[in-house]
Amino acid sequence: MEQITYRLDQFEGPLDLLLTLIQKNKFDISDIPIAIICDQYMEYINDAAARDLDVSSDFIVMASRLMLIKSRTLLPRDEEKEEDPREELARAVLEYARAKQASELFAGMYSMHGGRMVKDTDEIAPDNTLRDQDVSLLSRALARVLSEVRATEQSAVRFTPLIKKRAVSATEKARSVIKYMKERGAVPAAELFRREETKTDMIAVFLAVLELLRSQRITIVSGDDGDVGTLDAEALSFEISPLTGEDIDDFRIEE
């Protein structure tokens, strides 16, 4: 008794139980002795129910189906015209038998080859550190910025203040850069410089951008083929986007 109830859990479903019963009795799927199978099936179900086991509704549905077929086979029928009431069931059992057979083959294949492992692409992190840079690249980049901005603002008439040597703070610029980018999101680097008027301001912005990049407050968003590693004048056409949008105010550059 105990063995039987224990075994109901082992079946994948009613079809599995049915198939097992048919195979155990060495019956022909196309000619299932429905009365015998139905009785054996009910034995399993009743047993499981008697032991307070949860008999899933699928098993109950199949039980009623079997009884329906059993009752139909008892009725006289026109052999020529009517379909064997067992045929649909036989088809389902057969289809399941095939799936089960395939799953057994699969188990073998999997145990043989399941150990083939692959890694995630993510395990190789793209190297974002700037390497082998020459300081002259920086001065060239700055020169490029200055000349570009100068070219666009050549015609601008500028008032020359009487008070000379206004102190320009890179920290201030860094804050204004973050603020600016907070409003606009990613911006082309050159745009940041265009807002500035004097060379001193631009240098401060330049320093601020470098510092923000270094502290990872902002990041360079390059195109697909962009060589992030090269901080050449080209790099200035890259979009720069805010990485961490948090407090601008606690940002300090040691000057």
Binding site: F106, M109, R116
Partner: protein, 210 residues
């Protein structure tokens, strides 16, 4: 298949330009580097674009270098898998226990009997719907289907054009890899008609059941 000798000059068949040994070796190294870095299968199309040779030559290249990885006497711990549209590097199955120990992977990787059943039904009938799987198994397979999807063994393949537009499922390249085949054409034959098939009926097709 060519022999796996390492110094052998690789001849890429086909109409493409003749390549000298160094060019070919460079292609092999590039291929290996890309596949290693990718991890996932890389399509021949992509490789063709990156390596600058036609896709059919990429296929030839893969076929040629394969024995160096996969041959019995190869001195590699990784193998090259070629699928219908892509190829991939993976570790050889026999080293799984070592890898697991080295990486501290305790367990996992087992497939339950129900998972294998669902996988088998989908593999042989793909693309097919979950209700078809339910029907063949006679039980609800929703949980198993989602867990197989999570494991990357099956994937969605669009929707069936019937009321409700049910999702169609098919097997993935991960499935092919861990079951040791390179295409679903290589699935083992399952007897179409059992010795006791009912009324000589053919397999019930998905359309019929739906």
């Amino acid at each position: 298949m060519t022999s796996g000798s390492k110094n052998e000059t690789l001849m890429i068949d086909g109409i493409g330009e003749a390549r000298d040994a160094e060019e070919t070796a460079e292609l092999c190294r590039s291929l290996e580097a890309i596949l290693f870095a990718a991890g996932h299968p890389v399509t021949y199309e992509k490789l063709s674009a990156v390596l600058g040779i036609p896709a059919y030559e990429v296929r030839e290249l893969v076929k040629c270098v394969m024995p160096r990885y996969n041959a019995e006497d190869s001195d590699r711990g990784i193998m090259l898998l070629a699928f219908d549209d892509s190829c991939q590097l993976c570790t050889k199955e026999q080293y799984a226990p070592l890898i697991k120990e080295a990486l501290g992977i305790r367990r996992g990787g087992n497939l339950s009997a129900s998972s294998l059943e669902v996988l088998a039904i989908i593999a042989y009938n793909q693309p097919c719907t979950r209700s078809y799987v339910d029907m063949v198994r006679g039980v609800d397979s929703g949980y198993v289907v989602s867990s197989l999807t999570e494991k990357g063994l099956i994937e969605q393949r669009g929707r069936l054009d019937v009321p409700g537009r049910p999702i169609l499922y098919g097997t993935t390249e991960t499935f092919l890899r861990v079951f040791g085949i390179s295409s679903t054409d290589e699935l083992p034959a399952v007897s179409k008609s059992d010795d006791n098939a009912p009324g000589g009926d053919d397999a019930v097709s998905a359309d019929e059941l739906l």
